[in-house]
Amino acid sequence: MQQLNLLLTSLPDGLLLGFVYGLAAMGLTLIWGVMNVINLSHGPIITLGMFSTFFIYTRLGLNPYIGVLPIALVGLLLGILIYTAAVHRVINGPHLSSLLATFSVNMIIIGLGTAALTTSPYNVDFSAGSFKLGNATILGTRIIAAIVTLAFTGGLYLFLYRTRPGKFIRAVANNRAAAELMGVPSTRILALSFGIGTMLAAVAGGLIATFFPFSILSGSGYELKSFVIGVLGGLGNPIGALFGGLILGILEGIIPAFIESSWVPVIEFVLFIFILLVRPSGLFGAKK
């Protein structure tokens, strides 16, 4: 009975958290799907999103949600920069080259961030109210984050399926040489895709900052979650990532009701390996 109560209080929280996990993972999986690059700078980008919210709220004294669009824009441009500077040259090389390239970007951002901000924790002390749902307290920040996630997911879907540049992204993902032969400037499209991938990660970070304290090192935990979610939803399938995120969020809501919460990552990664073994294309399928 006590467990049931615990479950009812932690489940909605986990579910809402799952939206934002999904948003971050969408960025990782989009980049993988378009150019078969595993972006190891994904975590620090999430962290940059967190600190952006911190500065907007704490330093500028603005409502943190005013930051969503500027963070998205900066994330987009930063991704295009990272692609151009670090990824483009190795895009046709073996996977190890692009792993090392994005890992270097990861180290650079963490290094600069540590120098400027130290590794001590920061906190965005912002409240958007709360309400009761049975025994559970639902925080306004979680609801708003879920809504922002849905808006970005819908926007991404419309972009990929209804606009010309979005279709170019899908064409390049599907067959880069053929797209080039049709007149699609594929290098620019890859840069744009990388930009959108990092944009989603940065926005996710910006939203997570309103939930928990964080430091410059916090991104790596969310990066790992993004991997699990990417595999759950099918690597290369951005919309599947949202569902993967929800599943992970629900698990994080359920597991602590039964066992010590330090078991959460263990169970997540057992699940990760299990999915890789039995259903490598993910629960919702993906390309290849």
Binding site: K167, R170, A171, N174, N175, A178, E180, L181, M182, G183
Partner: protein, 236 residues
């Protein structure tokens, strides 16, 4: 004047040289064919011309201008369009979306609707399947789509690599009829074919590639009577 002129082009992959000085020219509005055995470098020549791989030496002139270093997408923009070997469709996208991608360049965009009607008239099967993913089409339908996608680009020069490979004879004839129509409209065509007999029958001019070089060339109706061509490529 030749619309496309290829002079002494060499190229290859890594250290391996495949083309050893190939020269070829396409007269405006003519249907030219390039034939030769398997692995002699036909596809490599087309990739080099399109800019998917760089020529090592030699000159490629499009409408009199050197285009050696231009990328494939710039060439598509200029009107040089390749229907690649093995179709290379966007298999995860619908038939309609594949045709949209064909019409990427600025010349083709304004005429999208007109060209769409035209290719659907040419290939009614594609119209029936316009909402289906390209990867779910049969081999023949995929080849139709590959050609249709090329036509959507409003090519000045349409290059087709292995049109007939793996297709039923009825369909091959249908596609060849389509090519004749395109030529009547003034599109310059380069056809790379395994089916040498058929290619020479409908072409105006032909080239024979062997060992990375053009070994023979001439008006198609002369080549088809040539002893060497007949014994080597037509099995006669």
């Amino acid at each position: 004047m030749a619309l496309l002129e290829i002079k002494d082009v060499t190229s290859g992959y890594g250290d391996v040289q495949i083309l050893w000085g190939a020269s070829l020219s396409l007269e405006k509005g003519k249907l030219t064919c390039l034939v030769g055995g398997n692995g002699v470098g036909k596809t490599t020549l087309l990739r080099t011309v399109m800019g998917l791989i760089r020529p090592w030496s030699g000159v490629i002139l499009f409408d009199g201008k050197e285009v050696n270093k231009l990328s494939a997408y710039t060439k598509a923009e200029m009107g040089l369009v390749l229907v690649p070997e093995g179709r290379q469709l966007f298999t995860d996208m619908t038939v309609h979306e594949n045709l949209e991608m064909g019409a990427t360049n600025q010349r083709a965009r304004p005429n999208f609707q007109r060209n769409l009607e035209r290719v659907y008239e040419m290939f009614p099967r594609l119209k029936e399947r316009s909402r289906q993913k390209a990867g779910t089409l049969s081999g023949g339908e995929q080849q139709m789509l590959a050609v249709a996608r090329g036509i959507m680009a409003e090519p000045l020069i349409l290059i087709i690599d292995e049109l007939s490979l793996g297709l039923a004879p009825v369909l091959v004839l249908q596609l060849f009829e389509g090519l004749k129509l395109l030529r009547q409209e003034g599109i310059t065509i380069l056809l790379v074919e395994q089916n040498v007999q058929l290619a020479l029958t409908i072409s105006d001019y032909g080239y024979v590639l062997a060992e990375g070089k053009v070994k023979m060339e001439g008006p198609a109706r002369k080549l088809i009577k040539d002893k060497h061509v007949r014994s080597t490529y037509l099995g006669l």
